[in-house]
């Protein structure tokens, strides 16, 4: 890391001060406002702050924040400080702010919004890009995902010094990554298939079997993977098998952990030392947090799109414990609730189900169609009062999650 030019230093200092004011006055975590101010003073700041660092970009539809957290934890095995936008501020301002706050860190692990990845890759000259998955998400404001994949493909083809670490089980991810000169394929799994039934190369139907997926008409097929998630274990690049035993629940997080280990390994970390650090991560920006509320153990699961809901249902407490579903349709959630119809709710049959949020009537009609019994509720405390002491799992989309979290307390 060279010395920053004067204007860049000034921009970083002023942005950092604005961020602290924002935090102290309780307006937010300060990373966005600080970054916005800094960038206004020095538009080239992201490039300047990235110079000389080993930058890792993490992108995909689901799991960005968690994977960023896990990679940061895994790189701890190298004993180096790591800069990271740990709270999900994943556009240019949030990235700039994260880098400005950790000027001395050799490593930077940055979660990046899918649409911004090409520009951020160019600005940061990232050493590694992690591609997790691509599925339908907030289509009233986001680009169609085939278009996202196409832009990634072009950006990665133009970044010869970048190592791509990509999920071999997601066909659209493979199509985007295949143009990159250097790829490490990870068999990280894919439960959500609804956005990858046809070949990105030729459009024909993709066939799936125990060996993976392949196009029925052209040569496009799943590449063989160096890293494999096998049930609850990881098989690393040299064939060692280790049980993951994470504190974070669910298949999706095991998948995120394998991606994180592949990144740590690329930078020379010992998997045996990195893995215990992943196991210590038990909550990520309030997600998966278990809080006690009037004798109920409330667990908060953030799920923003159909693939995310599918993964959330995978981690529900076993048995027939109650579930609260909450859906809003503010701008950050997407104004369109059509996606609720892409989720299969039949796994909830037999559990007490409560629906809340601005768009609880959309949920009501949806659950009725799947013959899942449910009750309308006003908010989290209304549900807490109506369930017996014990587990209560809460699945909520973005702003609904924030509202619930504000009520039950910002447990770290």
């Amino acid at each position: 890391m060279g010395k920053l030019p004067l204007r860049a230093r000034l921009a970083t200092t002023i942005g950092g001060a604005a961020g602290r004011v924002s935090r102290l006055t309780g307006r937010g975590d300060g990373s966005v406002i600080g970054g916005v101010l800094s960038l206004r003073l020095e538009p080239d700041l992201l490039r300047l702050l990235s110079a000389g660092r080993q930058v890792v970009l993490v992108t995909g539809t689901n799991g960005k924040t968690t994977t960023t957290r896990l990679i940061t934890a895994a790189l701890g095995a190298l004993g180096q400080p790591v800069a990271s936008n740990a709270f999900g501020a994943n556009m240019e301002a949030g990235l700039t702010s994260a880098l400005g706050q950790a000027r001395g860190a050799l490593f930077a692990v940055l979660e990046v919004d899918e649409a911004y990845m090409p520009a951020v890759l160019q600005a940061t000259s990232a050493r590694v890009v992690v591609l997790l998955n691509l599925s339908r998400d907030q289509m009233d404001r986001a680009a169609e995902i085939w278009m996202v994949a196409r832009r990634w493909r072009e950006a990665l083809a133009a970044a010869p010094n970048c190592r791509v670490i990509a999920n071999a089980d997601d066909p659209l991810i493979v199509w985007a990554a295949a143009a990159a000169p250097r790829v490490t394929w990870v068999a990280a799994g894919q439960r959500w298939h609804e956005d990858s039934w046809c070949c990105p190369e030729c459009g024909s139907h993709l066939r799936r079997d125990e060996l993976g997926w392949r196009c029925g008409e052209c040569t496009f097929r799943r590449p063989s993977a160096r890293w494999v998630l096998e049930d609850s274990a990881v098989i690393d690049a040299v064939g060692n098998v280790r049980d993951l035993s994470l504190a974070l629940p669910g298949r999706a997080n095991r998948s995120n952990a394998v991606m994180a280990l592949a990144v740590a390994d690329f930078f020379g970390a010992d998997v045996a030392q990195a893995l215990p650090r992943l196991r210590e991560v038990s909550s990520v920006a309030g997600r998966y947090t278990q809080v006690d509320r009037r004798g109920r153990r409330v667990r908060l699961l953030l799920a923003k799109n159909p693939a995310g809901w599918l993964e959330a249902f995978d981690v529900l407490a076993p048995g027939s414990s109650p579930v609260m579903l909450s859906v809003n349709a503010q701008v950050p959630d997407g104004r369109d609730t059509s996606w609720l119809w892409d989720v299969d709710y039949r796994v909830l049959r037999g559990r007490p189900v409560f629906v809340t949020g601005q768009r609880r009537l959309d949920l009501a009609v949806r659950l009725e169609a799947d013959q899942v019994a449910f009750e309308l509720a006003d908010d989290i405390d209304d549900v807490v009062d109506r369930v017996p002491p014990g587990e209560l799992d809460v699945v909520a989309n973005y702003t609904a999650f924030q509202q619930i979290r504000a009520v039950v307390g910002r447990a770290s």
């Binding site: 289509m139 039934w197 139907h205 008409e217 009609v365 169609a369």
Partner: protein, 252 residues
């Protein structure tokens, strides 16, 4: 005349009286955002009337079955839409269904592709199936948001409420009638929304359009199965509340 539960129109008799076969065309290419909803709503409302329902999902590498009663087409991105149009033209099944008076309900990208042409990824004209007299092109900007439209009184369906997300502009030829008049939103781009001709009906209300518009679902079912008995109020209650809430939220 009210039809007894279990009675159906003669055409459905091959599978026993009062049964319907729903065909979801190319969910692998044309299912962008909640399109399964239309299938689920039709199934539910048919079954509540004692009509047996069988549904088939046909992928793009399979032939479209000719003997279905109601065919559904959903939304899709530009490239899948173009591929779907090409494969459906080669297959010919959907055109045959339209010719024999089968019911076809197409939304969004599916709506555009049953017309004579539509705009491709760069706006270039792409040939559609030509089974309804409409033609679409690419507009200047995307229409994204809630839409409300009043249905042609000849169809006896309450006003439509839904969500649209498209950049298409659709012109109707003399062989098709507008499905509705737009109150809020974009629709076809000329103040009308959707189109119908015979038993082929298309709309820009995307995804699960029928979830908020059970009256439209019943119209399609009645085209295939004959007049339907009304449903018990309790079976309509959530959909009624959802419609009310959405219409109030959008009209203010």
């Amino acid at each position: 005349m009210a039809v007894r539960p279990g009675a159906g129109r003669a055409g459905a008799g091959r599978r026993g009286p009062g049964s319907l076969r729903l065909v979801w065309v190319y969910p692998d290419l044309l299912s962008t955002y909640g399109d399964r909803g239309n299938l689920l709503v039709l199934k539910r409302r048919a079954r509540l009337r004692g009509i047996e329902v069988e549904s088939v999902e046909v992928n793009a590498d399979e032939p479209v079955p000719r003997q279905g009663d109601i065919y559904l087409l959903g939304g899709g991105e530009d490239l899948p839409q173009i591929l779907a149009a090409r494969r459906l033209r080669d297959d010919g099944g959907l055109a045959a269904v339209a010719n024999r008076g089968g019911v076809i309900f197409a939304v969004c990208a599916g709506y555009q592709l049953i017309g004579s042409e539509f705009g491709g990824a760069e706006g270039e004209p792409v040939a559609g199936l030509g089974i309804i007299d409409i033609s679409s092109g690419r507009g200047d900007r995307r229409g994204v948001g809630e839409i409300i439209a009043d249905v042609d009184p000849a169809l006896g369906v309450p006003r439509l409420t839904g969500f649209e997300n498209h950049q298409g502009v659709t012109r109707l030829g003399p062989g098709a009638r507008p499905l509705a008049k737009v109150t809020v939103g974009v629709g076809n781009g000329d103040g009308t929304e959707g189109a119908y001709a015979g038993r082929v009906l298309g709309s820009y209300l995307h995804g699960p359009a029928l979830a908020r518009n059970p009256g439209l679902a019943d119209l399609l079912l009645s085209w295939a199965a004959g007049p339907l008995p009304p449903l018990d109020g309790a079976d309509e209650e959530w959909a009624r509340q959802l419609r009310e809430e959405r219409l109030a939220a959008v009209t203010g």
